[in-house]
Symmetry: C2
Subunit: 192 residues, 2 copies
């Protein structure tokens, strides 16, 4: 199991960074099936036992790397929730709909015996949406429910990437965000 | 790679049945990590080489078993699309939201190097929805778009099961189907 939030700059954080970097470098050249713990350990400059102790197995490590990819700097901040959500959804599609992105998503879902990485991936997405909605609420905007953002916008994107990767059309993000805002019962500022 | 649609009653079909049964029996007792090709082969009465030749690797075989689970007798037929979709969504949740169901879903997403099993799983779901919608159209009902059924009803269910398994509340199926019908622009028979 990965250690949750190792102190930045601590040894745990440095090891994690080196191991993640090694995995990413190996994944750039070859399929997961050909990557082994000794290869990763050699490239990262750590003992194989460090990897086994910390991540349990390769599936858990691949999943951890996939989740880490989902944590960029912070959600978009355009000044309106409608535009923030659209930009965020577009960015999510861009990062995940490529063959590599899809592979990461599948690693995240499958990795680790307890499937904890998928749940962490889901939590990160919720946190980012929550940030955008709270900013909008502070600005006095009428904002959608967090759960509705997940159901109406994020879920169809993730579903298509996993189950129907040839069906992620241009404009999907804004179409889904529009559906979300159409569903808000009370009047709201028309984003058009 | 599994052979597509082996003739029913043929040797290929009998082998597939025996191997699937063996995997299911082993999975009832132990985690996938402890299941090996020789164990499956012994229980199924086939040579290990048969399994390697046909399924490539264990991931592909687990994924194939998971997809096969999604193919029950046929979608519900209650006489109205609204009720059919609700019954189908409830059934989908019931089959997938248990820890076992979730494990199968994750196997399906991760299994096989080319991830083809997830795509087949997506196709089966579309076929079943298409059947329900076509029946409704023949009865003269106003029916939602196939893509909207996937986006509005199926995607949120699958997303929650994978990423947020503690958040699959009672009544989710009918709430999502109601949202779908609320979105149909022209007047429709109120299902309430």
């Amino acid at each position: 199991m990965p250690i949750a939030d190792p102190r930045p700059g601590g040894r745990a954080a440095r090891v994690q960074q080196a191991v993640h970097d090694a995995v990413r470098a190996l994944q750039a050249d070859q399929d997961n099936d050909f990557i082994t713990v000794p290869k990763i350990a050699a490239l990262a400059g750590v003992a194989p036992s460090t990897i086994y102790r910390r991540w349990g197995d390769l599936g858990g490590l691949f999943a951890d790397v996939a989740v880490a990819r989902l944590r960029p700097d912070g959600p978009p901040d355009t000044g309106s929730v409608f535009d923030d959500l659209t930009a965020w959804a577009e960015q999510y599609i861009e990062e995940s709909a490529s063959p590599t992105g899809r592979k990461f998503m599948c690693d995240m879902v499958s990795g680790g015996a307890d499937r904890a990485s998928a749940i962490r991936g889901g939590e990160y997405a919720r946190e980012r949406v929550k940030t955008m909605l709270e900013r909008g609420r502070r600005r006095g905007e009428r904002v959608p429910d967090l759960d509705d953002v997940i159901d109406v916008v994020l879920a169809p994107i993730v579903y298509r990437i996993i189950f129907d990767p040839d069906d992620v059309p241009t404009g999907l993000a804004s179409r889904l965000v529009r559906r979300l805002f159409d569903d808000i019962p009370s009047p709201h500022t028309d984003p058009a």
